[in-house]
Homo-oligomer: 374 residues x 4
């Protein structure tokens, strides 16, 4: 008989639904070592919780997330609540001996993230933070190519994660723009992903120097007669980094870059080749290798397929394309297999803490106008 | 209490699994009017059927598809068996009063397809044939743009559906290469999709002239000492068509086009603009409109998002990308909503029969070396 | 002392200027075996001829092309006049013992083209017809790749040459739309290029079946009060072809394809790989080769550079890009070197006659509604 | 009678030839206000000078550049010699009252550049420095779009100029790698272009913080038995900048980025839209504008054509493509028209001095590890 993993989901918004789709898809796509059971949903609005439980196919619901966290029939607490609640919820879940699946960024700052990490490690529970993009078979392939030395030693990484969801200066004010609820701005929302990817594909970041800016400093408050709210975090951020293996790079993020819808993009130069990836064409990896005959060299567009990591579970034919939600299903697979088999999971809280450390250093660098050594 | 739709799945291969993923995803993504129940799996190998039932999350299994078809607790028969079995299975399911979901092409020839269509219509059961590509939000957007006249009157359609899964002359012989089991070659496998799309986006095809060719005439039989099998159907096909609204076009398909992994591509010229679509970049639609200022005209790449058909169910942010399996989930939504609400479903058997008619005309045109009027 | 080649240019419009730029550029770029001397310009308007002679850097001018053709100080007659005049001018030039450089299509029909070809061959003069696109280093590279067998045996060619210069139904009537002055429509203007390229890269065309259409049948006559002129030639044309080496293909051309500005595009499938070219990105060749490791295969974008044919004369660095006029300079180099060194020139009148033969067959096929064997 | 401008060219290498092609092309393409006369060539090797004079179509030659500079029949001194000679040659030419056309970077450092600038301004001679990329009609179009406010206020500029000509660690040592001859490395060679473009399209750079690195520190010396030379300047450089209009940005350059052949690329985000340009597709400009209907927004690819700046002189049809050498021809047009008409020329020595100032600040920032205010 297969073991069960009973999920308690906190938060019923966009990410809550995305996690539910991923639980279903992962179960249908992968030969999992156990069964995912959608057990309970919590939302501060009990009625909404009940409605979403039905909609998402969960058995029970509650208006009190602490009830969920302490329920004996919950094995994993899945935190899809706003950033400022991650710490409290995760610590409570860890205290109750639950595994924790949290959305990113893990915490509002590195010291909180460290506290959460150490708590989880002491308790021996499993954790995973939703830096989903590295789960894409295409980025897994990039990792493989780098590790096998196919582009030589990495010498430069340039990465961006730009979107335009706040490019319109008239987009209304929201809690995401206040530090106490959201922490950093685009740095935390999208910048955290590109930091995570850089660390994953290249090496730990050792030093950085950063700049950031709030372009639209006031935004209209919805349903008011012209009132505006002050934006407290960054619209655009960029940094120069030095990795601990000697490579250097630039990382950027913007939430006001018109036209970029999921502008996660990177180029990695090595001593023998180059890789380029664009999340908006998430099934394509550009590989240039100096190993090709000199008059036949060019960037080749590899369409991910069954010969590449994890793809064959979704489809037997190359180039048919996996989607955004499929990356989340791979993430869920990694999470539940780690729990079922008691094997390491990546990126866990500690890996996410490393991202928070970089984020703190970015803000410090900007305030001080200087390089920061991590 | 929501109504239930109990699925009986015949066939446990690639397409069987794809359908199961789609059942799960559709349930998680869409607010369906009823519940999809994965009831029974049939496979000629009873043991495999049992194993796949567990794997796919179905309740029961059988080694006899007729048992499934006649089971009183099955509402919908889902046919994922080889082409040559579609007719017999569908007719039996219709006779038993079941709704039918069939993979494409519907039949080995138009007369079989017509028989199946008329049987379904007489019985009043619902049908859907798996021409999944038109379910892509991006192609739905193309349809909307055309219908609203944004590119004017359509004057030309050029479409291809090319892959390379048989490009290697040493890929072994299989039943797909024999007429009695598979019917046409690439014409049926991929050509049927591009025919369906052309009819959907432009108009019925009235006349055509076609050419086709088997390039690799013998293929090695696996696990033999150099024996080969004779390939009985087409490796590549193309046709000139005249639509009944006066537009003309070309349609092509190849299974030996190196490098094309899901090379479903089309360009539609209208009197006021052009659309281009490439399934390998399935979330992008290229739109050129003569309405833009003359010195600012250019193909614009629209990334499908929540403002376009069906996308918002998958993700709230544009450009994050849907995948191949997601199109199948839209197809399942169309199917089950049509059944739950007793509304028309497209493409039903009759629409699929129209594709089979074109396929027959293509082969006749090639044999006669002449234009054929449908 | 280097020999001289004295040019007599007939026609001072767009193509006349393009030729003059090419004479200058070829002289600056290539180490030619002799000197190009811009001797005389003819235009029916003597005043315009004089003005253009100054502007183009020619020594003399005339209002009578026959005077130019018979001038003893002219070695090469360069015909940039409308299509219907090519025959008369070329025959006169050949009769006067001049070499002839003619724009394409060579003639209004194949019989005229044959007459001109035979006259030139009998007279022993050199000829070249301006099918300039094959002079692009990128297409020369494609030719080299095919000849070396890098994509195996060619099995399919699909090519288009689409533009939108007549896509607007209100673009005024002109002499180009009348058969007596222009002959075929888009078939002659752009279709002739793609026919030439297909013959060059694949093999002679043996059989074809074609369709063509005039979409905008009347166009306004400029400076009239609403008068319209009847369009006598094709707006869009496509054909299925069978090459004499067994490959098949489709060729298309349109002058009403919105968004296509120089939409010369082809894909060539071979038994071991594929080539794709798009003139709008004229320095890029897409190569897919089955020789790459199966999990590293992809279309590679080769940027033409000094290791590829003729590029190094323009620039020492790859990917810096050659332009439209540069292809014409290569053409001029081929022309004048053939004359200076008395070596074969391609494409000469005979090669252009082969294009005219296909064009005639296209029109016949359309009239008869049948396949034509050439 | 048209005035003449008599050119004295110093340097017969790659850039010398490029200039000669540009003189010819500009004369053939543009209706210039005067005549360019190719008068004299200087090279330290008198024999080579003579040979190149013939090859390039110049009347005279000399082995002594000072003779050329002081020749009374020279109006313009064109400096295509190595960087470290620019200062001496330009000052001598200015002293002789000649106009000066110099390749970039103007000088080895800002103080030299300023000396040259002030000398030229005092003497009242015209100058132009070969930052040719802004002469591309496509970048001219970008400038026009920004100036007209079509993308609102610029908030971010990210630009790169990466190539791979030194990516191979075994590419031999050369004088370009020594500071005394070349000054900065990729910063001067390609970085100077992207700095110039950023200043041109956005605003003056006010503050910057930069990092740079020599990755391949020793390179083999050709024709020796394993000797190596020490590389004294940067292989890769990047910087964060703040423009004086409040926009921020990142600029990068690498000469070791495998696969980049002419990787001049930029993206400019404004408050109402975005522009993207890639020199490897030099006739395409990507424009995203928030003015389009929200469900029809997308990056549109504008192919430069006759409606855009300067294009119509090269070709009457859009999208046919201009090449690298054509940009140089526009540069020559700007140069000679400024001289013939006594109008301002851009970029003159002063504009190039502004680039040198940024380059100096980059090196200082790197040495100090701090932000620099210009």
């Amino acid at each position: 008989m297969k073991p069960e993993l009973r999920i308690g989901l906190i938060g019923t918004g966009y990410m809550g639904k995305a996690h539910c789709i991923a639980f279903q898809t992962a179960s249908a796509v992968f030969p999992l070592s156990g069964t995912i059971v959608c057990e309970m949903v919590a939302d501060i609005n009990a009625e909404l919780a009940a409605q979403k439980a039905t909609e998402f196919g969960f058995k029970r619901s509650t208006g009190d997330w602490r009830e969920l966290v302490n329920d004996p029939n919950i094995d994993l607490v899945d935190i899809c609540a706003p950033n400022y609640l991650h710490r409290e919820m995760a610590l409570a879940a860890i205290a109750a001996g639950k595994h924790v699946y949290s959305e990113k960024p893990l915490a509002l700052n590195a010291s909180d993230a460290l506290e959460m990490t150490e708590a989880a490690e002491r308790a021996g529970v499993k954790t995973l933070v939703g830096f989903n993009y590295t789960k894409n078979p295409t980025i897994q392939l990039a990792k493989q190519i780098i590790e096998r030395g196919e582009i030589g030693e990495v010498v430069h990484f340039r990465g961006t994660f730009n979107e335009d969801y706040l490019a319109d200066s008239q987009t209304p004010f929201s809690w995401r723009l206040k530090r106490e609820f959201s922490g950093a701005g685009t740095l935390g929302d999208m910048g955290s992903h590109i930091i995570n990817i850089a660390q994953h594909l290249v090496a730990p970041i050792e030093q950085l120097c950063a700049d950031l800016q709030t372009v639209h400093k006031q935004r209209p408050i919805a349903d008011t007669d012209g009132e505006t709210g002050r934006v407290e975090n960054d619209d655009q951020v960029h940094m120069m980094v030095r990795f601990n293996n000697g490579a250097i790079g630039t990382l950027e993020s913007s939430r006001i870059a018109w036209g970029r819808k999921n502008g996660l993009w990177f180029e990695i130069n090595g001593t023998r080749g180059t890789l380029i990836f664009d999340q908006q064409r998430l099934s394509e990896l550009q590989l240039y290798t100096a190993t090709d005959a000199s008059n036949r060299q060019g960037f080749r567009t590899i369409l991910t397929g069954p010969e590449h990591p994890d793809y064959q579970h979704f489809c037997v034919s190359a180039g048919h394309g996996i989607g955004y939600n499929d990356m989340k299903a791979v993430e869920v697979r990694d999470l539940v297999e780690g729990i079922f088999n008691q094997t390491p999971i990546w990126p866990d809280f500690r890996a996410a803490y490393e991202v928070n450390k970089v984020m703190d250093a970015v803000e410090l660098s900007h305030r001080q106008g200087s390089w920061i050594t991590l």
